[in-house]
Symmetry: C2
Subunit: 421 residues, 2 copies
């Protein structure tokens, strides 16, 4: 049992904005964060003076490695003209900015600050894929790395264990991939704005235009089975099971609950907060479940007085297709071994009973690691406020959405429930 | 003016412990942190069950660079057997663990957690001095670094500006160095447990024993003027003006104020918290003062309803001798340009009216960067509780002590006031 925890002062989200996600050779962390900051400022319905921001929390994971620079709290406070306000960097691998969000909530709930900017940023595309793989692995998985694992290898092993335990196959992972691409096709800021059907069509067009043999696939799964179209990375993780290398940033404006309606008539409230730690694969009794995620979920549900059945939709950490399946089980949305069936039955699609990763997820929206946690919460913000455009969940009475963010191979996990009242 | 800020729930320190500081070739971050954790657990007068710890905050700066591993929140939670409790790493260059302390305070003050472990660790001695210099510079000073500065170079430039503005000389810096060594000689966990007089004597002994010419210095300053004994690093910073490369860890146990007397009859209370950011030297209108420090001090004094005259002693970030002089001015202990005179007049000595760096400071206690902020607060804890042994400030009624921690070239600064009631 996890103790029921409460905040002494409620905290509200009154603004949120992100840069497009993708590979931007000409834009560094500062450029990306300024894009997100401007979008956030514009999103505040009744306007906000950035000078009223009391403090900043910035999640970042890999800049130490990839651009050989840390101390990003201070650097971004300077970039935004917010010196001498306090600015703190948080790091929890790929969960770095969900943690920044949480620290911002605590800082306001403590009574110390009234308005806090929380954000995340990552700049990954300037390094080779091999460098990125080595950097991420070095950063997050001390024991796994010594065994030669990279992240696709880790999640390949996890998928194999899941297949063995529950009888799932690669065909089921494809259901997740197809859904992610369908959602991302509707997301103007996603890195891959194309369904699998779109991708098939463009490949056919290109073959025709080049006078090459025209590929013939019977349907999306037939395409994903084709080892030329979808080569293996670390079996059973194929190319279309893996999130891309991405650049991007996001930020969110938090204020004390009692102040929220001064900034918008439609604020969101922090209903549940949870975070847990885990030991990594080397010590996991079962590769098909993350202890840190289960702990984070219990903590957040207890605070919110809610259960998984109350959450109407969620962003879930799908760094690999198999990760989404595991996490929807660990979060209690589906029973153990039911996650892959839910995907196959369409339960997690945009128009299903429990839409998951309406943004396209890490797989297709992109995964600039330190920005991901905040970007997930931005998707929840847009969906709950009925502003998600063509990818809006078709339910006019959305009240509760959530975001789940994982760091490393389960070393850190967070779960955050937002509420529209 | 800085707004007066308050915590909704008071927070108390009920335990504190650190590893020895030094260069330990056989001990890594985990070893060092376990040493600190054990010392902390033993320090809790009425005992504590580590299982009651709700969450961890860990400050670390350079492990990404020097041991190519991040995600230290999760790793140390695992090391201490505290999985699945949430564990978060904070980073603000050399202020990384003062920030961890602050986040722990917010987490408890918010009402969410009751008992939080805050700590810091750094493992620096396994790399060459050149690697460390490059790593620290890369990490903290984006613009200065491009101009070829290392940290001794930055503080050399600052000292030169201070000399020019106020007429101070190297002779005045020596007053700081001599005091730091005197205090560290009394600190069993300091890296350099020797006064300058002790060092002179041992050099004379060694010369005699080796049959070499016996050096003759008239007094400590004569020794520090000798370029063979005290060579220049980046003028006017000589060897004895610079903190060493250090390994070490520290941790502190925080609880809600109303719980404190369940753990000790002599808890300390968080009276003032302040943090600020700064732009770095490239944008500083005046090299002899840090905007981030002034901001942190204003915030902490406002919260505590206190002024600098109320603080009975302090640990101050003396990464270089000149830094202590600047900071005692920025914190308001002495007027602008009076810091060097105060050192010369003995005002900052152990038996002076405003003892500064009774631990020996970063210069002599050691500066494992991510552990420094917590270690400063541990010194305040021991002094306020009258348990600092032979280096105890000779005032039986100590009530208010403070710690000031700087990150980078002023990108981050924190100031924390602890109170004994």
């Amino acid at each position: 049992m996890v103790r029921k925890r409460k905040l002494g002062r409620g905290v509200a989200v009154v603004g949120a904005g992100m840069s497009p996600f993708g590979m931007f050779r000409e834009r560094d962390s500062k450029d990306l964060f300024v894009d997100a900051f401007r979008a956030m400022i514009e999103s505040v319905d009744k306007g906000v003076d950035p000078g009223d921001i009391d403090a900043l929390y910035i999640g970042n994971f890999t800049n130490d490695f990839f651009v050989h620079q840390s101390h990003w709290g201070a650097i971004l406070a300077d970039t935004l003209g917010l010196v001498p306000r306090p600015a703190t960097r948080t790091e929890g691998a790929c969960a770095s900015s969900a943690i920044a969000f949480r620290e911002g909530v605590f800082a306001i709930a403590s009574g110390f600050y009234d308005m806090v900017l929380v954000g995340g940023v990552e700049d990954m595309s300037k390094r080779s894929t091999a460098d990125v793989a080595e950097g991420l692995a070095s950063a997050a998985v001390p024991y796994e790395r010594k065994s030669g694992f990279t992240f696709p290898g880790v999640f390949g092993a996890i998928a194999t264990a899941y297949f063995h335990k529950y009888g799932a196959t690669r065909e089921h992972l494809m259901d997740v991939t197809i859904k992610s691409h369908e959602n991302a096709a509707l997301n103007p800021r996603a890195q891959f704005r194309a369904s699998i059907a779109d991708i098939m069509e463009s490949k056919v067009e290109r073959a025709k235009a080049g006078g090459n043999p025209v590929p013939r696939w019977t349907d999306e799964k037939d395409f994903l089975r084709d080892p030329e179209a979808n080569p293996p990375v670390a079996w059973p993780m194929h190319l279309f099971d893996c999130c891309p290398i991405s650049d991007g940033a996001g930020c969110i404006l938090l204020v004390g609950e009692e102040m929220a309606r001064g900034f918008t008539d439609d604020p969101l409230y922090v209903a549940g907060l949870g975070q847990g730690s885990g030991r990594g694969l080397h010590a996991a009794p079962d590769l098909t479940s993350f202890e840190a995620t289960r702990r984070a979920a219990r903590e957040a549900y207890a605070m919110a007085d809610l259960g998984p059945e109350d959450i109407q939709f969620a962003e879930v950490h799908d760094c690999f297709s198999i990760a989404e399946i595991l996490h929807v089980e660990d979060l209690g949305f589906f029973g153990p071994g039911d996650g892959y069936r839910a995907a196959g039955e369409g339960a997690t699609r945009l128009n299903g009973p429990k839409p998951i990763n309406t943004s396209g997820g890490l797989k297709c929206k992109g995964h600039p690691v330190g920005a991901t946690g905040i970007a997930q919460l931005i998707e929840v913000w847009e969906q709950l406020r009925q502003r998600a455009g063509t990818r809006q969940v078709p339910n006019g009475d959305l009240r509760l959405g959530a975001a789940h963010n994982l760091g490393g191979t389960g070393g850190t996990s967070t779960f955050t429930i937002l509420e529209r009242r």
